[in-house]
């Protein structure tokens, strides 16, 4: 469970049917980085979501390439998306390192929590 309330609006670029925007944002907000007790959306790890007729494509980053928990977070994101989107849509999670993550990507709530 995240220490923060879910962000008021999706804080990542989204392209696709409007009715899927909220469920996808909610699903990704349920994936929590246990170290900081904040969701991957709040930390700003979700770089963008594109939905077309066949696929949900999520671009994610991590704060560290040396972190062993990456795979676990990806698995959890897939499991949460699987519950939230229509079954005919494939889910593709892409781990990207460019552009590098920075604290300016955090949601307003996360920044407040971390003293910004």
């Amino acid at each position: 469970m995240s220490a923060l309330a879910p962000p008021a609006e999706a804080v990542f670029p989204y392209e696709g049917p409007a009715q899927l925007r909220a469920p996808i944002a909610a699903a990704l907000s349920r994936v929590v980085d246990p170290e900081v007790s904040m969701s991957i959306v709040d930390v700003g790890l979700v770089y963008g979501v594109t939905v077309d007729a066949a696929m949900v494509h999520v671009r994610l980053t991590m704060t560290s390439a040396a972190c062993p928990v990456i795979e676990l977070i990806l698995d959890e994101a897939e499991a949460e998306l699987d519950k939230a989107v229509p079954p005919e849509l494939h889910i593709r999670l892409e781990l990207v390192w460019e552009p590098p993550w920075g604290p300016e990507r955090m949601s307003a709530g996360a920044r407040r929590f971390m003293g910004w």
Partner: protein, 364 residues
């Protein structure tokens, strides 16, 4: 599955052998101390098993999982096999397998740097270099005064680099990210100097540990996440408790360098108070990732943590004035680690009961 069992067995053998060696040195009876090699650098075997065999293997597995390359597992395989050789009295083979492990681990870290060039990945690579230096000196027959500073620099730099990465989330003084590499450079300089000039090197090393403790207390996200709940708060408590021991270890390390009888305090405040507390903190998150064992977190995780910190206080405070009390404290330290292992096993069973066998199969 077989690979996971093999790595688990190697790490467990190192841990059991390392703890038995430590207790035996303090005069506590453990089963069959004669199973250890008596000749050579017997005083180093306990440290080698704990640092290179157990922690080095765990960190090697953790990094190999992160980079997702099969060859990266050669590092923990070599360090685990090296520890097994040490347990069986094959000192030379064990020490050189440790060198091979550190070389491979350095290559894995170079891959991490290539993927993400950042201050923290460079510091992780430097930590791997410190491990290689320590293992080479150990293989060449150097004593603890020369080897331990490098081995601990490996552990301390690995932890510090990972914490530096997390502090990027927190608002901090702009120079914070530059001061951490400066402090760790002092640590490496102290390690390098310790071989030639133990007094000056030890003073510098101790000062660097104390400065690092201050840095972590001021800048770590644990100060904020300690006010959350569940596993996040537990991790923060483990971290903050560890930082207190790191500061004590720094002072004791410097004091030992000028001849005070604080060597046991320095080594164990650092190894148990700082490093093992860190391991206990991260196990509920890292074990599911590396071993694919899901754990149910509960407040019961605080119990072995409390035993660890209290038993360390017994060992290091009254234990500094009395050999028997030190041995009692050390036995309780060992009990805390065993208690933690039982707690993790219990948490895995609790998860299975909660989610049923179906959930456990899916988790694989």
């Amino acid at each position: 599955m077989a690979a996971r069992a093999l790595f688990g067995a190697l790490a467990a053998t190192s841990l059991a052998g390392g703890i038995a060696g430590g207790l035996w040195r303090l005069g506590v009876a453990v089963p069959d101390p004669l199973a250890f090699a008596w000749a050579g650098q017997v005083l180093l075997v306990h440290g080698a098993l704990m640092i290179c065999g157990f922690l080095g293997t765990m960190i090697g597995i953790e990094r190999a999982v992160a980079v997702k390359r099969r060859w990266a597992f050669a590092a923990p395989l070599a360090s685990g096999a090296g520890a097994l050789c040490l347990v069986l009295g094959q000192q030379t083979a064990g020490a050189w397998l440790g060198v091979a492990a550190a070389l491979c681990f350095l290559a894995v870290n170079a891959l991490v740097v290539w993927r993400q060039r950042a201050v923290h990945t460079l510091l992780l690579a430097a930590g791997a270099g410190a491990w290689l230096a320590g293992n080479l000196l150990f293989a060449l027959g150097q004593g603890g005064d020369a080897v331990f500073p490098w081995w601990f620099a490996f552990l301390v730099m690995t932890i510090a680099a990972e914490r530096l990465e997390m502090t990027r989330l927190m608002r901090r003084w702009p120079a914070a990210s530059a001061t951490m590499p400066a402090v760790l450079s002092l640590l490496l300089a102290g390690a390098a100097w310790s071989g030639a000039a133990p007094r000056a090197g030890g003073l510098l090393y101790g000062a660097a540990l104390a400065l690092l403790a201050a840095w972590l207390v001021v800048f770590d996200v644990a100060r904020r996440t300690v006010s959350t709940h569940g596993v996040s708060r537990y991790m923060a408590v483990c971290l903050l408790g560890g930082y207190a021991w790191l500061g004590i270890a720094g002072a004791a390390w410097a004091a030992a360098a000028i001849g005070w009888p604080t060597r046991d305090i320095a080594l164990h405040a650092l190894g148990l108070g700082f490093v093992v507390s860190m391991v206990m903190g991260h196990a509920p998150v890292v074990l599911p990732a590396v071993a694919r064992i899901k754990l149910r977190f509960g407040t019961f995780f605080y119990l072995p943590l409390a035993v660890l910190h209290l038993s360390l206080a017994v060992r290091l405070v009254p234990g500094s004035f009395s050999g028997p009390l030190r041995a009692v404290g050390a036995s309780l330290n060992a009990a805390a680690i065993a208690f933690f292992a039982v707690t993790v096993a219990g948490a895995a069973v609790a998860w299975r009961i909660q989610h049923g066998a179906e959930g456990a199969r899916k988790a694989r």
